[in-house]
């Protein structure tokens, strides 16, 4: 038999129909739903007189435009969209974790937290960061609203078989360097379109030693270099994270599931359409300087000079990015002052991220010119952090401690940057205006964001004792 990759195994076991000259019809094991990309899909069902085929394989939550401060929703459009989700879920029988239910949160945080993101599954959601769930050895990818409607109606999706790529993270990750730095460095190396058309499997010793939270950070940003999905073969770390979660199999089912999951990893002799090696041995904490995630340098580095680019199109892109970011060529990253710090998002708002950031800020104070925000990824993460006393550490240092949601990652709720404000952010996109019109986003790890909050500028988190 032809040796198979993890992707091959999942793909093959989910093909419902495959005809020549047509995309395969792929079965969807889990459909995650949120308020922004679903209302038109439900409306489409209503207009066509269709039902949700498998509400028991679907779950919805409210995350993108929920306020993170106490009090009512003041934005009438946001309220209408949240109401629409509630009504649609009631009408079509889809389970919903609404705001205030105690289990709501960012859709890519609650899936794993509930134990419903499992190895070997196909998982889709009308959200590009669905790749996060690939950390469990699932094939998970983002879809548009028309596709959301397709999955609601049929529990399937027509899919062309993507190419496969393996990214080998070689070497041992230095202390103080995070999963976020690994994926930012990989994107810097491959470019923001380097993954287009591929499903990527992340592998190598540096991946194997990562916790599940960190693996989710890596897979989360697959879309930021255009990959269709990112995945990591499940192992004992995966199983230990999953055991006992409400949606995970239990008892004899758990043992059966383990047997199945242990056989998912790709055959050693299986081949990929492409391989990329990323050496992490000397990796330093990363900071983006521009308006897409490939525009990234180590924290000890400097902003590039457009004059160094021979290609006129590249030079123009760098010039445009620097103009938008309000940065002069060759500015040292550590000399860049920040106005805001955002610790949150589906990339970096899980319990480990909050613990890491709290360890940096414990007993210290946020710089007087910085406004800093911690937004837990879910109500569950918030509860756990509070049980561990992390909220006290953050608030004592001068951070605001908020309720769960997507918040300032994309600023659909009131948490936005003002024009010209500069933010050290643990989120995933530094696009123009992403966090607020005219806002300037620098992507960093939770430790570096925390260190920047204390120092008032970017700084290597390992040096924060001197900087603060």
């Amino acid at each position: 038999m032809t040796p198979q990759t993890l992707f091959d195994r999942i793909w093959t076991s989910h093909v419902v129909v495959e005809l020549a000259d047509e995309p395969a019809l792929l079965y969807v094991d889990l459909h995650l739903i949120h308020e922004v990309t679903s209302p038109q899909a439900f409306e489409g069902l209503r207009l066509a007189g269709r039902r949700v085929r498998r509400p028991d394989l679907s779950v919805a939550t409210m995350d993108h435009n929920v306020p993170t401060e106490d009090g009512p929703i003041t934005d009438p459009l946001a309220r209408r969209q949240l109401d629409a989700l509630r009504e649609n879920c009631e009408e079509f029988g889809v389970p919903l974790y609404a705001t205030g239910s105690g289990r709501e949160g960012i859709v890519h945080v609650i899936g794993p937290e509930l134990g419903i993101s499992q190895p070997g599954m196909t998982i889709v959601c009308g959200d590009s960061h669905t790749s996060t769930h690939g950390a469990f050895g699932a094939l998970a990818f983002g879809i548009g609203t028309s596709e959301v409607e397709h999955v609601l109606a049929t529990q399937t999706l027509p899919q062309r078989r993507p190419k496969t790529m393996r990214v080998n993270f070689e070497g041992e990750l230095p202390a103080g360097v995070a999963a976020k730095d690994m994926i930012l460095a990989a994107i810097g190396q491959a470019g923001v379109s380097g993954g287009v058309g591929y499903v990527v499997e992340y592998d190598g010793p540096a991946i194997r030693s990562l916790s599940m939270e960190s693996r989710m950070t890596v897979c989360n940003m697959s879309i930021e270099w255009g990959a269709r999905a990112g995945m990591i073969a499940p192992d004992e770390t995966t199983f230990a994270y999953m055991e006992g979660r409400p949606g995970a199999p239990a008892g004899a089912d758990w043992e059966r599931a383990l047997d199945e999951w242990r056989s998912l990893a790709g055959d050693p002799e299986a081949t990929f359409d492409k391989e990329l090696d990323v050496d992490v041995t000397r990796l330093a904490p990363q900071v983006t300087w521009g308006t897409n995630p490939e525009m990234v340098v180590p924290v000890h580095g400097e902003v590039p000079d457009p004059a160094d680019y021979d290609d006129p199109a590249e030079r123009a892109a760098v010039e445009r990015a620097l103009a938008y970011m309000g940065l002069a060529p060759r500015t040292k990253i550590e000399d860049i002052a920040v106005d805001r710090v955002f610790i949150g998002s589906c990339t970096n708002a899980r319990i480990e991220d909050l613990r890491t950031a709290a360890a940096v800020v414990a007993g210290k104070r946020v710089h007087s010119t910085v406004r800093a925000l911690v937004v837990p990824g879910s109500a569950g993460v918030k509860r756990q952090a509070e049980d561990e006393g992390l909220d006290k550490i953050f608030t004592a240092a001068g951070f605001e401690w908020r309720r769960a949601g997507c918040s300032m990652c994309l600023g659909m709720n009131p948490d936005i940057l003002q024009p010209g404000e500069r933010c050290a952010s643990t989120s995933n996109r530094n696009f123009e205006g992403r966090q607020g019109q005219g806002g300037r986003t620098h992507l960093v790890s939770p430790a570096l964001a925390a260190a920047a909050a204390l120092a008032g500028h970017f700084v290597d988190p390992s040096a924060v004792g001197d900087a603060a």
Partner: protein, 197 residues
Amino acid sequence: MKPFRSVTARAAVLDRADVDTDQIIPKQFLKRIERTGYGEFLFFDWMKQPDFELLRPEFADAGILLAGRNFGSGSSREHAAWALQEYGFEAVIAPSFGDIFRTNALKIGLAPVVLPEKDVERLMRAVAGGGSLTVDLEAQQVSGPGDLVVPFEFEAFARESLLQGLDDIALALKREEAIAAFEHSHAARVDTSALPV
């Protein structure tokens, strides 16, 4: 879905790589629950910059967009494709597209045409001062001023779907038997209705 066969229209040139869907339609316009009402917010922030390409008089009323590589990267928001279509674009030509954007465009009858970088540049030069192109999906070619003709590849099934304006949900529902048979042999991995609330 609205069928797409061919369009002859003025072409606009947006010669930038990696134009993400956050630029095409910013997040503050994603709170609508309708499929319409996005065209007027297309490239909302960039439209406020006087030197933005789409504001040039020679690109007014354009129906075809020529763009740089990796157009429509980033967020899965189908609103980006809706906004382009509502603004008046019927086809986008680029060296490559973000995967999700490309699918979204196909689903609504906005033709995403991939051409090698040098061909896109040739077309961009041809209409830089204003001009019309024809994107003909049946003939699989773009034609323009003079005798400029550039053939393009298009995946057969996607082409057929666009030409006929096929409803792929209806197509999948015709495979109900196959889906039911698959479900019979493929046990559900989770039961979301049994989760704690």
